[in-house]
């Protein structure tokens, strides 16, 4: 019997050739084992790892929430609910910790994928000595695939030039279908497949059965599973199914949203009380748990003007329908596994939220998730009117908007806790529901588990049950240890020893230290969704002393929800945990605190030195973080065209869509430029004369008024260097047009910038484009340039933090 392979060094080395080779086949003996694929250990289960996005402890009905989650509940009723499972309070960090088993800062993900900076804990670049779970499983004989949201590839690496080693395939997934960024439109997703951006699928243009990402994710997952099984009936699989839901934009059909019509008319305070009561009834929270108080940053429902209540209620109806749809599509995947006859031997871990529900919609909510990130202050009345502009509140969730609900709904979704996403100091940001289902192993069905568990524990637990050791070396590189611990013991033993006894938390300066039931919360005073200069001033280097932040101390065995601050009664415990936090922070690369906001405080990356970029006509789907940095500058877009005798129409170049973007196009024979300032202000300039036939040079020139963010300016259109039209743009986009929509030459893929050609989309150019050139004019003053560069970093940070 051959020796078992050494699985501590990956890739697994093959055993020496056991056959015999002679000069000819005569006397030669093949070694068939040498070409057999690596086998997973006997009994290694299939794994379905499901991660919902931006959702709270009190959202799913399975945990007492108002959102119907029948598939989550059916798994829970045949498996286990975990009510003390913890995440990191932010998207990428949770995902990095989930897939590596290590603390997020230790693997460079103290912040999100878009926000890569020069401190070790914040590079957004996975270190080579921290091989992730999919790589380990793949090298140990698993088929691996990821579907949906990724958010672990740095913003500037999301094109064909890469580098590609930190795309999903580089993390160890055999197959990837989804999107690389922090969020995506569910109707008009700019998709990636393996190592290519494939753009918005053809189904987007199908009016009868339009593309919808959650459906497509389930379809693709099932198709992949069928393909794997068609080839190999025994090879275990890892499916990482990370939904774009329930992150903004909250996109779902009206039919799903209408399932909740009227259900939230009582408001968020009522929703919270009802959820809390159900949580107790279900036994999800202990009888002694208290409902925490509402912070004054969140308005009372009863204080809202009556005329706005329907608007706010619809926001939550859409979110709920969107979330229930996610449950439905996960259910389809589960059904497919069941149909294959493999449900009993598939370990399903389903985490409802990578952080608490998101408060990034600010108090008003927004018709366009990026208005907040671009620093556009909009009152509730303005938001309502903009919703009306784009179809009314019944259209909230449709293709024409990119909505985010009010922070108050998020807070209610995090019942019974305080705060939510981004607030790593409190359970509202860090504690999420988890259900585990594995009939082959878990016989104690429909039970609750209350061991303290953390997202870093998932990977070691999976390795534990699969019989795969933590590798010491991968590709010859000695590995850092995994920080999480297996909680597999709790699968079969309700009283299993709690192994995760100590954990730090840190997100954007909000921090906590947990140890043996005690939780020290150290929240900055900043309201999580406020990133104004005034709000940030107290955190400037040399001004902020973290030890001066208010502290709250909770003893969780007696206080499940963090309702009773006992810091005053236990000053020695406060000091002990404060000291422990600093020790852990140093150990895991959390320092310097607030590195995420370094761009606000003068720690910006070097100024880009490329100001002129050329695009050939077949370039499409340039990701939004990689388009020419025209923001806050004067710039020109010029194009060399060939216009045939019959004339032309169509798009020369377009970025993103009508909720933020620009398009230079020809319609009715006239050169036209449309610029959408986040769908709030839309400017259009058109040439006064038609394009001539033959070789034509066209140009759009924007002259900024001043070196300041969101500067206004003058647009002039040129044909063969002769001015032919123009107009003012009073406000421009200071930060980013879109979170996900790409830039295209010769067409406008996905949602279009100018709705006048929506019925002709993608409105491909009918002549010939030789090339398109962006020329960004640096400001005359280096100081101005640096100031603007820093301003752009601020916005970039704001965008990143919403990831």
């Amino acid at each position: 019997m051959p020796n078992p392979p050494d699985r501590t060094r990956l890739p697994i080395r093959r055993a020496p050739f056991q056959g015999r080779v002679d000069r000819t086949l005569a006397g030669s003996q093949p070694d068939w084992a040498s070409i057999a694929p690596i086998q997973a250990p006997d009994g290694a289960p299939n794994v379905l790892l499901v991660l919902i996005d931006d959702a709270g402890f009190g959202n799913p009905a399975t945990f007492g929430g108002p959102i119907a989650t029948p598939n989550y509940t059916r798994l829970a009723e045949n498996g286990l609910r975990y009510n003390r499972f913890h995440v990191t309070a932010l998207c990428s960090p949770t995902r990095a910790a989930l897939l590596t088993g290590r603390n997020s800062h230790a693997v460079g993900f103290g912040s999100v994928g878009e926000f890569s900076n020069g401190f070790p804990g914040y590079t957004a670049l996975l270190p080579r000595d921290c091989a992730p779970l999919p790589r380990i499983l793949r090298d140990n004989g698993y088929s691996t695939a990821a579907f949906g949201k990724w958010h672990l590839t740095a913003d500037g690496q999301q094109g064909p030039a890469g580098p590609l080693d930190r795309w999903p395939n580089g993390w160890g997934f055999d197959y990837f279908y989804g999107f690389l960024g922090g969020d995506a439109g569910q109707w008009d997703t700019c998709l990636a497949e393996n190592q290519q951006i494939i753009g918005t699928p053809a189904g987007f243009y199908d009016k009868q059965q339009p593309f919808y990402l959650p459906d497509a994710m389930a379809d693709k997952t099932i198709e992949w599973l069928h393909g794997v099984r068609a080839q190999d009936p025994r090879k275990p699989f890892l499916v990482y199914f990370a939904t774009g839901c329930s992150h903004a934009p909250h996109h779902v059909s009206q039919a799903w949203a209408d399932r909740y019509r009227g259900q939230f008319d009582g408001g968020w305070d009522r929703m919270r009380e009802d959820t809390f009561a159900r949580q107790k009834q279900l036994g999800i929270i202990p009888e002694h748990a208290e409902l925490t108080a509402r912070d004054e940053a969140i308005p009372a429902w009863d204080d809202l003007p009556d005329r706005l209540k329907a608007f706010y209620a619809r926001q939550m109806e859409v979110y709920a329908g969107y979330s229930e749809n996610a449950d439905h599509n996960v259910g389809r995947v589960i059904d497919a596994i069941d149909e294959l006859g493999e449900l009993d031997n598939t370990l399903i871990i389903w985490i409802w939220g990578d952080n608490g529900a998101s408060m990034e919609g600010t108090v008003t909510g927004s018709f366009n998730e990026l208005t907040m990130q671009n620093g556009i202050p909009l009152s509730d009345e303005m938001q309502l009117q903009l919703a009306e502009r784009y179809g009314g509140i019944q259209a909230w969730g449709n293709q024409i908007v990119a909505p985010h609900y009010s922070a108050a709904w998020a807070w209610a979704g995090n019942t019974p806790f305080q705060w939510g996403k981004q607030v790593g100091s409190h359970l509202g940001g860090t504690r999420n529901p988890m259900v585990i289902h594995w009939p082959d192993r878990i016989t104690d069905k429909n039970r609750l588990r209350s061991q303290f568990t953390h997202v870093t524990d998932i990977a070691p637990t999976l390795l534990d049950v699969a019989g795969i050791p933590e590798p010491t070396h991968v590709d010859g590189i000695e590995q850092q240890p995994i920080h999480g611990v297996s909680f597999a013991g709790s699968f079969t033993d309700a009283d299993a020893v709690e192994r995760h006894t100590q954990q730090y938390f840190e997100t954007i300066g909000n921090r906590a230290m947990y140890k043996d039931g005690w939780w020290l919360a150290m929240k900055t005073r900043r309201i999580p969704w406020v990133l104004t200069p005034d709000a940030l001033a107290p955190y400037r280097p040399g001004v902020w002393d973290p030890d001066d932040d208010p502290v709250e101390l909770y003893y969780l065995p007696d206080d499940f929800s963090q309702a009773k601050n006992v810091a005053a009664e236990h000053p020695e415990k406060v000091e002990e945990l404060k000291d422990l936090f600093w020790t852990e922070a140093e150990k895991y690369q959390v320092l310097p605190l607030l590195a995420t906001l370094g761009g606000f405080f003068g720690l910006s990356p070097p100024l880009p030195d490329v100001t002129k970029l050329e695009f050939r006509p077949d370039v499409q789907n340039v990701m939004p973080g990689m388009i020419p940095r025209i923001y806050n500058h004067s710039y020109t877009i010029s194009a060399d065209l060939i216009v045939p005798p019959q004339g032309v129409q169509g798009v020369i170049v377009a970025e993103a869509d009508h909720l933020g973007g620009f398009s230079l196009f020809v319609d009715d024979g006239r050169l036209t430029h449309t610029y959408s300032m986040m769908g709030v202000f839309i400017y259009r300039q058109q040439a006064t004369q038609p394009l001539p036939v033959g070789e034509v040079s066209v140009r759009m020139e924007f002259v900024a008024d001043a070196p300041k963010p969101a500067t206004g300016g003058q647009v002039t259109l040129f044909i063969n260097d002769k001015p032919v039209g123009g107009g003012r743009m009073e406000h421009t986009v200071p930060v980013r047009f879109s979170a996900y929509a790409g830039m295209d030459i010769g067409r406008d893929n996905g949602g279009v910038v100018d709705l006048s050609y929506d019925d002709r989309k993608p409105f491909a150019f009918t002549g010939t484009i030789k090339k398109v050139v962006f020329d960004i004019k640096p400001h005359l003053s280096t100081v101005d340039e640096q100031v603007l560069h820093e301003a752009a970093q601020h916005g970039h940070a704001a965008h990143a933090l919403a990831g």
Partner: protein, 172 residues
């Protein structure tokens, strides 16, 4: 109503949606105050302009009292988002023709300044009706009110100029 010596207010309301402007358009018409003219104009998401006029506006036009003229110089302030409502015809016969003419003029002159997706409400009323008219404008994002005194036509023209000035100043 005295025509030779009156104080006229012009209110210009800016909106981000046509729906909101329509609501105020209706609200003003029902407010019970005397109105010289009420007009809503704007641009839909494809860029098409349309205008809706109240009967009062047509009436003013019929009197030759610059019901058209008072909007000729209308400049939508830079931050004023304006939209429109579909032009529901009012009046008949001469009234209808006049309505079409006024709407045409409105669109022709406002076209260059009204942003896509926005709407504007323009109300002309005697100062004495302000207590009823002003509260009826509930949803405007920006409001500028100009006033002028004198003969009706002169007062109307002066009030438009004052409102324009205030609206532009407020948006800077």
């Amino acid at each position: 109503m005295a025509f030779d010596d009156e104080t006229i207010d012009i209110l210009i309301g800016g909106y981000l949606s046509r729906t909101a402007a329509d609501e105020d358009f209706g609200s003003v018409r029902r407010c019970g105050g005397y109105l010289h003219a009420v007009t809503v104009i704007g641009r839909d998401l494809k860029g098409n302009l349309s205008a809706q006029l109240s009967d009062h506006t047509v009436r003013e036009g019929a009197r030759g009292l610059a019901a058209v003229g008072f909007v000729l110089g209308l400049v939508v302030p830079p931050l004023l988002p304006l939209t429109t409502t579909a032009g529901a015809a009012t009046g008949a016969g001469m009234g209808l023709l006049l309505h079409r003419f006024i709407a045409y003029e409105l669109k022709r002159h406002a076209g260059a300044t009204i942003p896509i997706g926005g709407a504007g409400l323009i109300v002309a009323y005697p100062k004495t009706a302000a207590d009823k008219v002003r509260p009826a404008v509930k949803r405007a994002i920006t409001v500028a009110v100009g006033e002028a005194k004198g003969h009706h036509v002169r007062a109307l023209t002066g009030a438009v100029a004052d409102a324009r000035h205030k609206a532009v100043t407020a948006s800077v």
